[in-house]
């Protein structure tokens, strides 16, 4: 059950927009929400609290976004604060950089992962570097939302995993929630940071409902162990966390006690969290949707190996997408790490013999 303070009840009118004083948002208790609703609630709260927070992008206004993540926000906060842009991603990101320079906190949306590419120049050479270039004079409090990853049989370039770029770029921070609870709290956290955060929303989890506890966000930094276990650590993020939890259930039937670690922050990576888990389990498999070569799994595996080399029982295994373009919907299940392939990966680690 959720208790919303009167100030954030949807009114159908634009919120008073003329003062910088912050509304206090108090959601208490807990509520069962889908992830898309949870992000929507977080955005509403962020907009209510910070009159300089803005939402912009293609179709985010009246339509509420193609995934309805911004549903109702324009109606409530006005077309000045929640607005559609022309169809140009470089424009959206470049404009966000300028709005940040003017003291705003833009929350741009790129409609689908694959359409971030036209904006990469503004993201990498401008948004990520402006604080550095200006020696802190022009910080970039920008929260870039990207519906990400596959799993819903989308058309071409609607299922990409872009962490391979973001996680490497100095000046960015990158986070991906795996549950409605995480999504709500990580969005509120990200959207109040003074640095640019790329917020990668796992599309395949948008409609999954779960409890959001408004009173206890839990830790907001680093990774979280979402299932403790003794024999092996499965590391995943975004939509793959749920799949790894399924795998852990199945493995348990065979007496294999799998720990599932939700990495959450893809930049910076929680090296301590990884080390803590794997120094206990002494075996790890990292799972991601992106192609294997030079994917973030390599960084995760190497981070683990650096910390746990002396105690690791087997090399860290990677179960990932193949080194092919993300295929059409009918081949998606062949491409994405599925339960079988993850179980094979676990088996390889468990059966590993030093050669």
């Amino acid at each position: 059950m959720s208790n919303l303070s009167a100030t954030i009840e949807p009114t159908g009118h634009a919120a008073p927009a003329s003062e910088d004083a912050m509304d206090t948002v108090t959601r208490t208790g807990s509520e069962t929400l889908s992830m898309n609703k949870a992000i929507n609630a977080a955005l509403a709260d962020v907009l209510a609290e910070n009159p300089r927070a803005l939402v912009l992008g293609e179709d985010v206004g009246q339509l509420g976004g193609v995934f309805r993540i911004t549903d109702g926000l324009q109606k409530r906060f006005g077309a000045e604060r929640v607005f559609d842009t022309p169809l140009a991603e470089s424009g959206i990101l470049g404009m966000s950089v300028g709005l940040a320079m003017a003291g705003y906190h833009p929350i741009p949306e790129v409609q689908f992962d694959g359409f971030t590419y036209p904006a990469i120049n503004q993201i990498v050479t401008q948004m990520a570097r402006m604080n550095f270039r200006t020696r802190g004079a022009l910080p970039m409090p920008i929260t870039l939302r990207i519906p990400s990853f596959g799993g819903i049989q989308s058309p071409e370039l609607h299922s990409e995993s872009l962490e391979y770029i973001f996680a490497h770029v100095a000046g960015l921070k990158v986070v991906s929630p795996s549950s409605p609870h995480q999504a709500y709290h990580l969005m509120r956290h990200a959207a109040t940071r003074p640095d640019p955060v790329v917020f990668m929303e796992p599309k395949s989890r948008y409609w999954q409902k779960d409890t959001v506890d408004f009173d206890d966000p839990g830790t907001l930094e680093g990774s979280v162990v979402v299932r403790p276990g003794r024999h092996l650590t499965l590391v995943a993020w975004g939509g793959m966390v749920a799949r790894c939890l399924q795998v852990a259930e199945l493995a348990a039937e065979d007496g294999i006690d799998v720990e599932v670690l939700d990495l959450r922050w893809l930049k910076p990576i929680d090296a301590a969290g990884l080390a803590a888990s794997v120094s206990k389990t002494r075996r790890a498999v990292v799972v991601h949707e992106a192609p294997r070569s030079a994917g973030l799994g390599a960084e995760v595996a190497q981070t683990i190996t650096e910390a746990c080399f002396g105690t690791l029982k087997a090399p860290v295994e990677r179960v990932t997408g193949f080194d092919v373009p993300f295929p059409s919907g009918s081949l998606e299940a062949e491409y994405l790490p599925n339960i079988d392939r993850i179980l094979y990966g676990i088996q390889r680690v468990l059966e590993y013999q030093r050669g």
């Binding site: 206004g61 022309p86 169809l87 140009a88 609607h158 919907g329 079988d340």
Partner: protein, 351 residues
């Protein structure tokens, strides 16, 4: 500064038999488009991007091309153009069936590039391809006055992308034989053209590049054919690119997962859609006696048959073998990828 020449519609009116042929094609297109929406509801297709209202624009523009040597660069909404270009429809629908991104058809055979999901992604390809036609002529010692020409489809929304500007500028500088064919259908998903196109017209951008442009009624197939013919004539003769802006209307939802009720009313649609391109052509052909009611019925029956045959083929279309994921990444496959294919086979097909 070069003054952009004005582009006038081609002077020759279309003969009656050509109009009938266009009516036949547009009727097929409408049938298939309406059916594809139904197929999506029936679970035959996971999704579809309807093009109702744009039949005249798509069929008419392709009609103006020489499909034997020109090349068409579509977006994701050009079913009508594909059909007019002779593309195999089940192979085209393969994209919407999620069988193969881009479609199963052979792009070189139909001279029709794969379905493009990246807005504005293909415009520069057309410019490069067109430049290649110029280079071919030079290499072969032909005069550059009868060039194979590229037809670039783009929407009002796409006009906002940087790539469209770069394509227009490159085409202007290199005098490339390309026609930018803008279907201004009033909307980019939920965003109306007024909030999209500063200045209000994509054709009006032409002058700034020294590119001649024509704005025409995209619901009138004869206007589309004649306008596009003029543009193609200009480009083909080596004078450089041309722009056609066909004013039309996206009568359906953006895609089968869109809900237009969120951003426009039925009243808006009735007010803004303009004449139905097919009904108005039919009325004209009936009025001037080119067709009678029986002929119209026959054409519609033919379209229904075609739709039925296409549906059967689409339904019969099975998924592609997973091995193709590995096969088409490169012309020269890598060892690393071969190993992944082997692992995939072992783990997924248990071979």
């Amino acid at each position: 500064m070069t003054e952009a020449p004005r582009l006038e519609p081609h002077s020759t009116a279309l003969p009656a038999d050509e109009l009938v042929e266009l009516y036949r094609l547009m009727t097929k297109v409408r049938h298939l488009d309406t059916s594809a929406i139904a197929w999506q509801r029936q679970g035959i297709l996971p999704g579809y991007a309807p093009m109702q209202g744009q039949e005249a624009a798509q069929v008419g523009s392709v009609r103006a091309m020489d499909t034997g040597r020109d090349f068409v660069f579509p977006t994701y909404r050009e079913m009508g153009a594909a059909l007019a270009a002779g593309v195999d429809m089940p192979e085209f629908m393969a994209t919407h069936k999620a069988t193969w991104n881009g479609g199963l058809y052979d792009a070189t055979k139909y001279r029709f590039t794969p379905i493009q999901t990246v807005i504005a992604g293909s415009a520069l390809h057309a410019v490069g391809w067109g430049h290649g036609q110029r280079l071919d002529a030079i290499r072969e010692g032909r005069p550059e006055t009868d060039l194979p020409t590229a037809l670039i489809f783009l929407g009002d929304g796409a006009s906002s992308q940087g790539d469209i500007h770069e394509a227009m500028n490159f085409a202007g500088i290199f005098k490339t034989p390309v026609v930018f064919f803008v279907q201004n259908n009033g909307w980019a998903i939920s965003v109306p053209t007024e909030q999209q196109v500063a200045g209000g017209s994509v054709a009006a951008r032409g002058a700034g590049y020294g590119i001649p442009a024509i704005k025409l009624d995209g619901n009138d197939v004869e206007a589309v054919v004649r306008g596009t013919r003029a543009a193609v004539e200009h480009a083909r003769s080596g004078k450089g690119p041309a722009i056609v802006e066909a004013m039309t209307y996206r009568r359906g939802p953006h895609s089968t997962s869109d809900d237009p009720g969120r951003y426009r009313t039925l009243e808006d649609e009735r007010r803004d859609a303009g004449a139905d391109p097919i009904e108005s052509l039919r009325d004209r052909l009936l009025a001037d006696g080119t067709l009678d009611a029986d002929a119209v019925t026959a054409i519609q029956a033919e379209a229904a048959d075609f739709e039925e045959a296409t549906r059967l083929a689409v339904q019969a279309q099975g998924p592609r073998p997973g091995a193709e994921m590995f096969e088409y990444v490169y012309q020269e496959q890598t060892e690393a990828l071969k190993q992944q294919a082997t692992q995939w086979r072992e783990e997924s097909e248990h071979v």
